[in-house]
């Protein structure tokens, strides 16, 4: 088993030679595959003040490779729009897409009143049949929207295009405009056909564009609260957003909207009235943050509520931004109130987990964020990668100007955004901003995963089943983190596997209480006796010592 040894105060991983590991991964695959993968499997190197090595990311998946990735529809309907409770989300397509994205992501939502609208337990679909493919499905879509309106009278209906819709040329946007006019409620469509991008990531972008175009900015009323922020890229899986909401509330920070965990349509419409955008999952939501900055003058900062240290740091960053002594003090009070319990559990569990190693292959930010939590209990991540991230999520946002935009990325519209003539209001003057930056607050910045990983760790983009299997054999980690499709193949190898999309059935893992939950969960998994029963007594010692005579 790979271990991390303590040498003095610094920890040095005793890792297999990463160059050999990489060669091993590429040896038996077809040349064309090896050539491509060689650029997506990178040995990490961090030099102060220098770039981390370049990694290829957000490029086409290799056919037949058994990827983790999903599609554009999944990123748009499943990830970004799925967690909002009061929009009727109609999937325009054959039944499957709507069915598979129905309640499967563990996004929790809590209407203030039990009688309030909540459509999340519902799956709405036009269930296109062959005749709709042949003659066009717009008529059916229109009628379906009317039926949904008749039944539920929702404040908004959105339409998600699936693969065949784009191919046969159904115009979901035209239908949306027409029905918006007819019904007098907001109706908007998303061109999120599964084939549009190389992964879910394209769908995030499509969702960002749609929300920005059709919802954000519709309600200018500035609601109460002194320190008003949006939380972007937090989807309330397993109740993460609830824990963050609790902390923000205790700190006296008002949450105008969350994109999109535990969210409502009205929050989105009002989001542009906030004074700061905080980004959890950079990959899935940075587009909306950029556009809100340009159009409305709201700055954004990267936060991370995964890990107690990261949570404290993020709360302090928010307080620092508002430059309010009372807020700064209140945040400190909350941190000092929360930390003792965290430290108590953390230290106890650390004594059992220290030196064990983890591998993380998930999402577009989680494989980075969760390294913090593992580090807090003494576990290093020796090998990690994202499923659908871009280079900036690995190397940091400063590579953005150097990223070559390929044909697949060009498929996704980049909205032209200009300052709103009436509503653009810079929340900070250039002087204030410069002062904050000088004090260490970074705007519009994400440093990426690789800088935070040790040298000689292996970073693998869009890992596949073959590499997963090989890398586990090589590294023998104490725990492997990925998604449901990987879960049981890993566990069949006798290695505990934690899902970091759905958290299995656990959570929350965000914030201080979430950190405690996670420490305990990892302790349960890596220190359980259940993994010791793999061999029956007769398999342990097959030699017969005596004979039973049966005559």
């Amino acid at each position: 088993m790979t271990t991390v040894k303590k040498i003095g105060s610094a920890k040095v991983s005793i890792l297999p030679d990463p160059f050999e590991v990489k060669q091993e991964l590429l040896r038996e695959v077809p040349t064309k595959v090896a050539r491509k993968r060689a650029k997506q499997v990178v040995i990490n190197k961090v030099n102060d003040g220098e770039h981390v090595p370049e990694i290829t990311a957000n490029t086409r998946t290799i056919p037949g490779i058994i990827t983790q990735r999903g599609c554009t529809y999944a990123g748009c309907k499943g990830v970004v729009l799925g967690p909002t409770r009061d929009i009727v989300n109609i999937t325009h397509g054959p039944i499957g897409c709507g069915f598979y994205s129905w309640l499967t992501r563990r996004n929790q939502t809590r209407p203030p009143d039990p009688g309030d609208e909540n459509y999340m337990p519902y799956c709405f679909s036009t269930d296109m049949q062959e005749e709709d493919i042949v003659f066009g499905g717009e008529k059916k879509l229109r009628a379906a929207i009317e039926e949904a309106y008749e039944l539920f009278k929702p404040k908004a209906i959105s339409i998600f295009a699936t693969c065949p819709v784009g191919l046969i040329g159904d115009d979901v946007h035209a239908v949306a405009r027409e029905m918006k006019e007819k019904l007098g409620i907001n109706v908007f469509g998303f061109s999120c056909e599964g084939y549009r991008g190389v992964s879910q990531s394209a769908g995030h972008h499509v969702a960002n564009n749609g929300l920005f175009t059709h919802v954000i900015g519709l309600d200018d009323r500035v609601k109460g609260g002194q320190f008003r922020i949006n939380l972007l890229g937090e989807y309330n899986i397993g109740g993460d957003a609830f824990e963050i909401e609790r902390l923000l509330d205790e700190c006296g920070i008002s949450l105008v909207s969350t994109f999109s965990g535990n969210s409502t349509y009205d929050q989105f419409a009002n989001a542009h009235t906030a004074d700061l955008n905080t980004i959890m999952c950079h990959r899935s939501i940075n587009y909306v943050a950029d556009m809100m900055e340009t159009k409305y003058g709201i700055p954004w900062i990267k936060v991370n509520f995964i890990g107690s240290g990261a949570t404290a740091k993020s709360l302090r960053k928010i307080a620092q931004y508002f430059e309010d002594a009372q807020l700064i003090e209140r945040v400190e009070r909350v941190i000092s109130k929360e930390m003792p319990e965290v430290v108590k559990v953390r230290d106890e569990i650390r004594s059992r987990c220290e030196g064990k190693v983890a591998m993380l292959f998930v999402g577009g930010s989680r494989a980075h964020h969760y390294q913090e939590l593992f580090r807090e209990i003494g576990m290093e991540t020796i090998c990690a990668g994202y499923e659908f991230a871009h280079r900036d999520d690995y190397e940091g946002r400063e590579v953005l100007p150097h990223i070559k935009v390929d044909a697949d990325s060009r498929n996704i519209e980049e909205l032209e955004v200009a300052p709103d003539p009436e509503r653009f209001r810079p929340r900070k003057t250039p002087e204030e901003r410069a002062r904050l930056e000088a004090a260490g607050l970074k705007f519009m910045d994400y440093e990426g995963m690789m800088r935070q990983m040790n040298p000689n760790t292996l970073v693998v983009d869009d890992i596949n089943q073959y590499e997963t299997d090989r890398l586990i054999d090589i590294y023998k980690p104490a725990i492997f983190c990925a998604g449901i499709k990987e879960k049981f193949a890993v566990q069949k190898k006798g290695i505990p596997m934690k899902q970091l999309h759905s958290y299995d059935s656990g959570g929350p893992y965000a914030g201080f209480r979430g950190a405690i939950n996670f420490y305990r969960e990892i302790d349960r998994m890596v220190n359980s006796r259940i993994w010791s029963y793999l061999k029956a007594p007769w398999q342990e010692s097959p030699e017969l010592a005596a004979r039973y005579v049966c005559d």
Partner: protein, 451 residues
């Protein structure tokens, strides 16, 4: 409550799309990797759903269409996928199913496979088979039926030999059910080839070793030999009929298409058919199992009698389940399937003739309609997949999980619901649900020790 008829909007479907059924069936071929020819999201969704249902590795590959492939066709993607799969994962068979995307653009799979063959991408002794499963036609059940038929089309061979064996097409049932059908045939002393066979694939043991291709699944030799069998018994006309009929027309293997052997009457017909074709006597072990099932029915009849039940699921399952419930004097009064089936309604009407209550049947219908019916006419019990738990919670009705998918309980992959033993398990589950509810709701003075 007035129920407004919906013609265009499906809410809470009681079905999903064809490709997942094709993927499931393909997993029942030994050393086979299912392949989804379309956008990679389809494959990810099907694998995820099957994985959640079985809590087992579900491997499958995809052609990963991007916009380019959608415009120019998926040939290059599929040829490359075939090369990569045979080089990296080394299955014996790749079972390709199409998707709405590749069907809409009109990809011709056999032509692409010929191209792969010509390019030397298919090693000797390895196979690429296919089925067309556009998602806008049929449902997961017909997708399963299609891939099962493809197994016949590609592998069943008539050599002229007359093998003393009977083919069983088990229907869209669980690995545990497939194992149970094989066990029953063994008890009867009948040699069978069961296909597809997901036992040993989707209910594997924890060994500390991951095998890409576990020991389960029908082998190609066995599959090939189905063309020389005495007969085929197809269980469930919707899921198994097409394969059985194809085998009849391809290799002149006569077929009996029966309803799924759920409950004692349908199981009786299965055993009787097997007995007659094989020309054997039914051994006492089988009679004893039947007797045990019946014993539970007679012992506990008071708790079954007159209980109103709502059912949702697939046509083959629902027909047999309805027959079973009616046979023990339960009253299925709301029955919904999302899978269109010509004879379904008539068959259900026939089976529920004696039910002294109005019986609602929808084919196709959805779970929202079922919920509306239940609101208007409450039931004592619901049986169906995990999605019914939302109705169960809203209406405070006990739920027995049955069918696909079951995402929140285990058991279905290990313990069958077919055959006499399966019937016993179903009755145990039904009784548990009903008696648990009775205990919960009993006033203090009527809370019973002995039930």
């Amino acid at each position: 409550m007035e129920i407004i008829e919906r013609k265009h909007l499906t809410i809470n479907p009681a079905k999903t799309c064809q490709p997942i059924g094709a993927m499931y069936a393909a997993l029942g071929i030994h050393a086979c990797l299912p392949h989804s020819h379309g956008s990679q999201g389809c494959c990810a969704y099907h694998r995820s759903t099957l994985t959640r249902h079985y809590k087992e590795p579900v491997m499958a590959a995809t052609s990963s269409f991007t916009e380019g492939a959608s415009v120019f066709g998926g040939q290059a993607n599929l040829v490359q996928a075939i090369d990569n799969i045979f080089t990296i994962y080394k299955p014996d068979v790749i079972a390709v199913h199409t998707t709405c995307l590749s069907e809409t653009i009109g990809d011709d799979i056999p032509q692409i496979v010929r191209k792969a063959q010509a390019d030397g991408k298919i090693p000797d002794g390895k196979y690429v088979i296919h089925v067309n499963t556009p998602s806008y036609v049929g449902t997961h059940v017909t997708g399963f039926a299609g891939m099962t038929k493809a197994m016949v089309d590609y592998f069943s061979t008539c050599t002229g030999a007359q093998l003393e064996q009977i083919n069983i097409v088990p229907g869209y049932v669980e690995p545990s059910d497939m194992a149970e059908l094989k066990r029953m045939a063994r008890l009867l002393g009948v040699k069978t080839v069961l296909f597809p066979d997901t036992s040993g694939v989707l209910n594997r043991p924890q060994t500390g070793r991951y095998e890409m291709f576990p020991k389960g699944g029908v082998t190609l030799d066995a599959m090939s030999s189905t063309g020389d069998s005495m007969a085929t018994i197809a269980l469930g006309p919707t899921a198994s009929g097409p394969a059985a009929r194809a085998l009849d027309s391809k290799c002149n293997v006569p077929c009996e298409i029966l309803e799924l052997p759920i409950g004692f009457k349908a199981t009786d017909r299965f055993v009787d058919t097997l007995r007659k074709i094989a020309g054997i006597n039914v051994p006492d072990e089988v009679n004893d199992e039947r007797g045990q099932l019946l014993d539970i029915v007679t012992d506990m009849h008071q708790y079954f009698y007159g209980k109103k039940v709502a059912l949702a699921g697939d046509p083959d399952h629902l027909v047999s389940l309805t027959e079973f419930l009616v046979s023990i004097d339960m009253w299925p009064i709301h029955i919904v399937t999302g899978t269109p089936s010509k004879k379904f309604k008539a068959r259900i009407r026939e089976l529920t003739q004696q039910v002294p209550h109005q019986v609602n049947v929808a084919c196709p219908g959805d779970l929202f309609l079922l919920h509306q019916w239940i609101k208007n006419q409450p039931v004592d019990l619901m049986m169906g997949n995990t999605y019914l738990k939302y109705i169960a919670r809203d209406e405070d009705i006990p739920l027995v999980r049955f069918g696909f998918p079951i995402l929140d309980r285990i058991g279905h992959s290990y313990f069958p619901t077919v055959g006499y033993v399966g019937g016993m398990r179903l009755l145990e589950k039904i009784l548990d649900a009903i008696l648990e509810r009775k205990d919960r709701d009993a006033p203090e003075e009527c809370f019973e020790l002995v039930m």
